[in-house]
Each structure stands twice: as structure tokens, then as C-alpha cells.
């Protein structure tokens, strides 16, 4: 209350902004564990439906496996995207976040990082187990897990742009899927490609490098684009 007219500090450091958003979103995620469980369960169920649906032919399952695991990961990631900004937008927190002295792209980076830690990491950790249903083994499991570790952060980053652009729209969820799924296509191709390459005995390094490069580009561009979209949504 005192010294209300004192000169306040002007620009705040970006890293503290990342840390604030990361800490808050992780704490919120831990308070609503059920939501995280639902998303992970969705992944497990969708992946497990395929062996039941296409029969027990080992050759067919091994050929389908990489694609199925990756498509299911894409959908599970998409399912959790509306959570990224919509709740904060509805209760007025997003407005306060945008008006904070911390740079908005830094705060959004922290939110995206928290989103990846609570969605992408569990998916990647669970996937080798689920891949056993498709008869994948050894180097294929490594390529799958490595691909998901490199690819899921890019999914969260690209998804954040879509989530920010569809803020406040009716039927935003469906529009979000239409907007974002085409952008996920390259990640799907190279992610599933990495597993496919190691299945036929080739090195998966090329595909994984492409996923890593995509992650770097998205990590720089997506927070800036999401910040711009959030500011438009708040106007």
C-alpha cells in the first residue's frame, strides 16, 4: 500500500516468466489429476483397439504399429489442447497474464512446457509398453520413444498457436482440430518414418534429426505466434 507512487521496475526477465507459468500450470495439473488420466487412458484405449479390430496377423500388426501409435499420440495431444488457454481465458487469468510485466512469449513458453510435461512425456513413456501389442521390439521401441520425445513438444508448440487462435470461438474445439491436424502431418510422417526405418533395419537418425530441427524452429516461433494470437483474442 505504501509508496504507491514509487517508480516500479520496468522490464522483467524472461526466464522468471517461464518459471512462473511452468510452476503454476504444473501445480494446477496436479490438482486435477483426473483430467491427465483421461487423456492418457484415451491413448491406451485407442491404441489397443487396433489389434482387436484388424486381427492377430503379426506381419500386419508390425506394419500398422508405428502409424497407429503416432496417430493416437497426435489425437491424445489434440484432446488436451483446449485446456492450454481456454480456462485461463474464461476466468480472466489470461488477461492478467497478458498484462504482467513479464514478456508474454516467455509466460506462454512456460505454459507450453508444462503442457508437454503433463501430456507428451507420459505418452512417450507409455508408448514402448503399448508398442509390444504390435510386436515391435528392440531398436523400433527406441526409435518410437525417441521420436515421441522429440516430436511431442513440437505438437504442444504448434497446438498452442491453434489453441490461442480459436480462443473465444464457438465450436472452437472442432475448428482447432481442422486447423492443427494438417500442421501435425510432417511430425507424423517423420515420427512414424523413424520407427519404420528401424523396422526394415535402417538407421533412424535422419528422421530423428528432422524432428529435432522442427522442434527448434517451433520452440522459437510458436510462443511468439501464440502471444500475438492471445493479444488479439483479448481485444
Amino acid at each position: 500500500m505504501s509508496e504507491a507512487a514509487a517508480q516500479p521496475p520496468i522490464e522483467r526477465g524472461g526466464w522468471s516468466g517461464v518459471a512462473w507459468a511452468l510452476r503454476r500450470d504444473l501445480r494446477l495439473a496436479l490438482r486435477s489429476k483426473a483430467e491427465l488420466g483421461v487423456q492418457l487412458l484415451f491413448y491406451v484405449v485407442v491404441v489397443s483397439l487396433f489389434p482387436l479390430g484388424v486381427g492377430a496377423d503379426p506381419m500386419l500388426l508390425r506394419a500398422l504399429g508405428p502409424g497407429v501409435l503416432w496417430v493416437a499420440a497426435l489425437l491424445a495431444s489434440l484432446l488436451s489442447l483446449p485446456r492450454l488457454f481456454a480456462a485461463d481465458f474464461a476466468d480472466g487469468t489470461l488477461e492478467q497474464i497478458a498484462l504482467s510485466p513479464y514478456p508474454l512469449p516467455a509466460l506462454i513458453s512456460g505454459k507450453i512446457l508444462a503442457h508437454w510435461l503433463t501430456t507428451g512425456v507420459p505418452l512417450a513413456a507409455l508408448s514402448p509398453l503399448l508398442a509390444l501389442q504390435f510386436g515391435l521390439d528392440g531398436s523400433e521401441l527406441v526409435a518410437l520413444a525417441a521420436g515421441l520425445v522429440l516430436g511431442t513438444p513440437t505438437l504442444s508448440l504448434l497446438g498452442a498457436i491453434g489453441a490461442a487462435l480459436t480462443l473465444g470461438l464457438r465450436a472452437g474445439g472442432a475448428l482447432l482440430a481442422l486447423l492443427i491436424l494438417p500442421l501435425y502431418v510432417p511430425i507424423l510422417i517423420f515420427g512414424a518414418g523413424a520407427v519404420e526405418a528401424s523396422r526394415v533395419g535402417l538407421a533412424a537418425g535422419g528422421e530423428l534429426s528432422v524432428l529435432g530441427a522442427a522442434l527448434l524452429v517451433a520452440a522459437i516461433g510458436a510462443p511468439l505466434a501464440s502471444a500475438a494470437a492471445v493479444r488479439i483474442a483479448l481485444d
Binding site: 504507491a4 514509487a6 521496475p9 501445480r27 476466468d91 487469468t93 492478467q96
Partner: protein, 204 residues
């Protein structure tokens, strides 16, 4: 010093107001009045820097500030209709979280003192989900206590507050003005201030 020259705003095709000018020195409060839909909230959002004015300009300490200008983000605290509380967090966590977001240190003692000042000591460990509207509003307003910002922008701050809460708000405002702060308050309830200069702006 907060100044605005010839501000105009529109929502969709409708012109809300035009030609609004104001000039507020240290220790001054401005009460913005007007019927529903006259643009009180929009004016506050323009001053807070979340909405682009259709015309005119806003100056903070002599510097022209547009939407999301860093100088404005470091000096102003804007409390809108939505109290910006997370249902999953307790009153104390909500307050500490919002204070650190705005760069205040938010030590535990200071947070508890702010909650105490707004008569929320007993609700400190309750999740915001179970608080009443008035209590949520109190948690939102307790932020003013922690942040020590020179510019307050309050949109209907007395909504859902009981008599005791309005007295606390009035005292907080008086102390803010006495410390040479500036406040812009959109209201259609009377919020008489004991000290400090105040102006009124009627949006038609």
C-alpha cells in the same frame, strides 16, 4: 500522470463513445459513470492496454502508450469483472500467484497480511471454488494491497461486496490516493472518498 486525448471506442458497428479526454495527476481518482452499455468497461480496458481505441491516444507519464505497452504493464493494476482466480487453488495461493505474476515479491507474511486486511484470514486455506462471490471479489481486490502499483484501474470493484467490504475498499482507495496514486474506477454505485481529489466522467 495519466492523460487521454479524444478517445473513441466502438464495439462491432456501434459507436460507444468519442471525444473522451482526461488528465489525472498524482493523488486523483476518476469515477467513470454511465448507463449499461455506455462503454465504461471498454474505456477501462483501453486505459489498461488490452483494447485498441478506435481513435485518440493515451499517455502515461508523458509517454504515449498503446496496447500492452511495457511501461503500462509495470505500473498499472487492472481488476476487471472476472476475478482471475483458479478454482483449484486456495485463496492464499491465488493471491500469491497473481502477485508474483505482477512482479511483487509476495512473501508469505505480506500475503497473509493482505488477506487479513480483507477479512479473509479464515478462508485462507479454502479452495477458491467454495468461496462466495463477495469473497472471490475480496481476494481479487486484496491484490491491490500487495502490488503497490501507482495506477489502479477498477471495473465495478464494489460488486458483490458487503458493507464492511466497501468500507475496506474505500479505506484502501483513500490510502492509495494519499500515497499519490491514481485510480480510475468504473462504477454505478456511490463510493465516497474521504480524501484526495476526485473527478467524475459521465459516458452517455
Amino acid at each position: 500522470m495519466l492523460e487521454a486525448h479524444d478517445l473513441a471506442a466502438r464495439r462491432g458497428d456501434a459507436q460507444l463513445f468519442s471525444g473522451v479526454s482526461l488528465s489525472l495527476g498524482p493523488g486523483t481518482a476518476l469515477f467513470v459513470r454511465g448507463p449499461n452499455g455506455s462503454g465504461k468497461t471498454t474505456l477501462l480496458r483501453i486505459l489498461a492496454g488490452t483494447t485498441q481505441a478506435a481513435a485518440g491516444r493515451v499517455l502515461w507519464r508523458g509517454e504515449q502508450v498503446g496496447p500492452f505497452h511495457p511501461a503500462l504493464r509495470a505500473s498499472a493494476v487492472f481488476i476487471g469483472h472476472a476475478p482471475a482466480l483458479k478454482d483449484e487453488l486456495t485463496a492464499e495461493e491465488n493471491l500469491a500467484s497473481l502477485a508474483t505474476l505482477h512482479g511483487a515479491p509476495a512473501e508469505r507474511a505480506a500475503v497473509l497480511e493482505a488477506l487479513n486486511a480483507w477479512s479473509l484470514s479464515r478462508q485462507r486455506a479454502l479452495p477458491a471454488r467454495v468461496l462466495s462471490q463477495g469473497q472471490r471479489r475480496r481476494v481479487a481486490l486484496a491484490r491491490l494491497w500487495l502490488l503497490s502499483r501507482p495506477l489502479w484501474l477498477l471495473d465495478e470493484p464494489a460488486t458483490a461486496l458487503d458493507d464492511a467490504g466497501q468500507v475496506t475498499l474505500r479505506d484502501a482507495l483513500a490510502a492509495h490516493l494519499a500515497a499519490r496514486g491514481i485510480a480510475v474506477i468504473a462504477t454505478h454505485q456511490d463510493l465516497p472518498v474521504a480524501s484526495g481529489a476526485h473527478q467524475s466522467l459521465l459516458l452517455a
